[in-house]
């Protein structure tokens, strides 16, 4: 049996985040930390769907939202425990994600058309949520039922929700580290570098791409539900197309197809967004300018640049 790999820098990163509430314990800081952990998971999902299997999904917000709404609506209307309804939400999102992926591969849509179809899907989701006012409360937003977070009786709800969400992000990160080395990860790499050769060798492109999209959707779905229960309410404004942009920005800034990119990207951008909150709509401008600069100048991202610099330092250290 293959040994499960646990990369050390990742552990250190998460240990730091686990220790941070000792220093920043006020609710505002704790909220920011939780949002970083939520976005880290989102960005790992994007890294799998967009990075590893090169399907330009611009419906990540909708996939997260579908799960959050399904779970909250079921729990509200049947009085069920949210932990029971979360799997239903996941199932719904995963089937939608898998269907979008399957259709676009079978129809041979290029990346650009996948982007348009999924963006259109996000708009459909937004309008359906706005329109089904009796079910979703429309624009005002739906108050989510209270989720029991593990150990909340001892630590309080804020701390308990933070650690649950952080633990999930840690598991996702570990999963990604092993995913890229698995049979699936290698197959996706082959498809990425030369799709036709991969097909000739006998790699089932459709199957592996749909699996990658499903895994990504599942991560988005779980994180989306957690986000909803942590936030106390969900609205179309939260799961809007700009969430996709933020996720992609984090992925590009941190580094596409890297293990640490999602952690670096989500931390940097959440902090940036929080610190520029006073500028109101100008925040959009900052995001826009960053996107332009990032995509034109360094598409490798911070993580791989840091890795190269680190390798240079250590290799020169060996020589001397």
């Amino acid at each position: 049996m293959r040994v499960i790999e646990i990369p050390k820098p990742s552990i250190i990163f998460f240990l730091i985040f686990a220790a941070l509430p000792l220093v920043f314990s006020n609710p505002y800081h704790l909220r920011i930390l939780t949002i970083i952990a939520i976005y880290a998971s989102f960005v790992y999902a994007a890294n799998i769907i967009i990075g590893e299997s090169r399907q330009l999904f611009l419906c990540m917000s909708a996939l997260a939202g579908i799960s959050a709404y399904t779970s909250a609506i079921l729990a509200n209307s049947y009085g069920l425990n949210p932990w029971v309804t979360i799997p239903a939400g996941i199932l719904f999102s995963v089937s939608v994600g898998a269907m979008l992926s399957y259709v676009s591969i079978v129809r041979g849509l290029g990346e650009i058309f996948v982007a348009i179809v999924t963006l259109t899907f996000t708009l459909i989701f937004e309008n359906v949520v706005l329109g089904l006012r009796w079910l979703t409360m429309g624009e005002t937003g739906l108050v989510t039922p209270t989720l029991w977070w593990p150990f909340q009786e001892i630590f309080g709800r804020r701390i308990a929700s933070y650690y649950t969400i952080l633990l999930f992000a840690f598991l996702v990160s570990m999963f990604y580290a092993n995913f890229v080395k698995s049979k699936l990860g290698i197959a996706l790499r082959a498809i990425r570098s030369d799709r036709i050769s991969a097909e000739v060798v006998g790699i089932d492109v459709t199957k592996y791409s749909v699996i990658a999209a499903s895994i990504g959707s599942a991560i988005l779905a779980i994180t989306g539900s957690f986000y909803g229960y942590f936030n106390g309410m969900i609205s179309p404004g939260i799961f809007s197309p700009s969430m996709d942009i933020v996720i992609i920005l984090m992925l590009l800034l941190g580094g596409l197809r890297t293990l640490y990119g999602p952690l670096i990207g989500s931390t940097a951008i959440v902090l940036l967004l929080e610190s520029t909150r006073g500028f109101g709509q100008l925040t959009l401008t900052f995001l826009g300018i960053m996107l332009v600069i990032l995509i034109l100048t360094f598409r490798e991202g911070i993580s791989s640049i840091a890795e190269k610099a680190f390798a240079r330092i250590t290799s020169s250290g060996w020589k001397s």
């Binding site: 129809r107 849509l109 650009i112 963006l119 197309p241 959009l284 826009g288 034109l296």
Partner: protein, 297 residues
């Protein structure tokens, strides 16, 4: 009695249809700029809706500071054209050096970034501002059917703008050169057409069309900062249904979707209308990715 009811229903249906066509002309005008730029620039310009907003904002600001409305609107439209030209000459330059799918992808993200930049600036600087042109007459009745005068004027302006574009592309030498470059870039280079200059010209034209779309929309309803991405998605819908590289396709698709929009709104209510339009787009992309009316330029 029954005949009466039927005739009322039919006249109402005709009104709805004509309303749809008028709105469709607006959609066509919104989409042609996007399609032109994609056809020659290879860039799916997600900042297209922002060009509309920019014209609206500039005109509204100039009008409120005491300018003659006509002059203000002309300046606003020209400004959008120049802005498009400036983007083509600056940030988009590095994108053209890339090839194939990569060019399209990088172009998509760069223009998305530009859209966010412009959306942020316009809604930060001018919150609550809106551009709207009032038509003195409320309703006009023709053959016993009544129409909103503003919709008629807006439709007329859209029609004239589209006609101007068609004549320019069809009759002038430069227009023919643009069409040649749209069909085959390498071939037209061989024939001595400066494709880079044509591309800049197309960006300028695309910006002008967006500016004219702002005028048409300002007459029919209003243009306000913050709705740029929504306008872009409308243009994208029309463009995709028409075939993203075809100007004629975009015109026909715009009118068709305008009619669908009006009928769906009349029969099913406004909320489902947009969903129906979006579902049509998804269906078209899946069954015919090249668009319904792809073919001619």
């Amino acid at each position: 009695m029954t005949i009466d009811i039927a005739s009322i229903a039919i006249s109402e249906l005709v009104e709805v249809l004509i309303d749809g066509i008028l709105f469709g002309l607006q959609l066509s005008l919104l989409a042609v700029g996007l399609v032109l730029i994609f056809g020659l620039g290879g860039i799916l310009n997600l900042a297209h809706g922002e060009f509309v907003i920019v014209t609206g904002v500039i005109s509204a600001v100039l009008i409120s500071s005491g300018w003659n409305p006509a002059a203000a609107i002309v300046i606003g439209i020209l400004f959008s054209g120049i802005l498009a030209l400036a983007l083509d000459r600056s940030v988009l330059r590095p994108v053209y050096k890339l090839e194939g799918e990569m060019e399209v992808l990088v172009g998509l993200f760069v223009t998305l970034g530009l859209a966010f930049t412009l959306e942020g600036i316009t809604s930060y600087l001018f919150p609550g501002l809106y551009f709207s042109v009032r038509v003195p007459v409320e309703t006009v009745s023709i053959f016993g059917l009544s129409f909103r005068a503003s919709a008629l004027v807006s439709g007329l302006i859209s029609f004239l703008s589209l006609l101007f574009l068609l004549l320019f592309l069809g009759k002038t030498m430069t227009g023919k050169a643009i069409r040649a470059a749209l069909q085959n870039q390498i071939g037209s280079r061989v024939c001595g057409i400066d494709v880079d200059r044509m591309r800049s010209l197309v960006f300028f034209l695309g910006g002008l069309m967006a500016g004219l779309a702002a005028l048409a929309k300002g007459i029919a309803s209003s243009v306000e900062p913050g709705s740029g991405l929504e306008l872009t998605s409308y243009a994208l819908i029309v463009g995709v249904v028409g075939g993203v590289r075809s100007v004629y396709g975009a015109m026909i698709a715009g009118i068709l979707l305008g009619i669908v929009n009006a009928l769906a709104g009349y029969l099913l209510g406004t909320y489902l209308t947009l969903v129906i339009l979006l579902v049509i787009v998804v269906a078209v992309i899946i069954y015919k990715p090249s668009g319904l009316f792809a073919g001619g330029v």
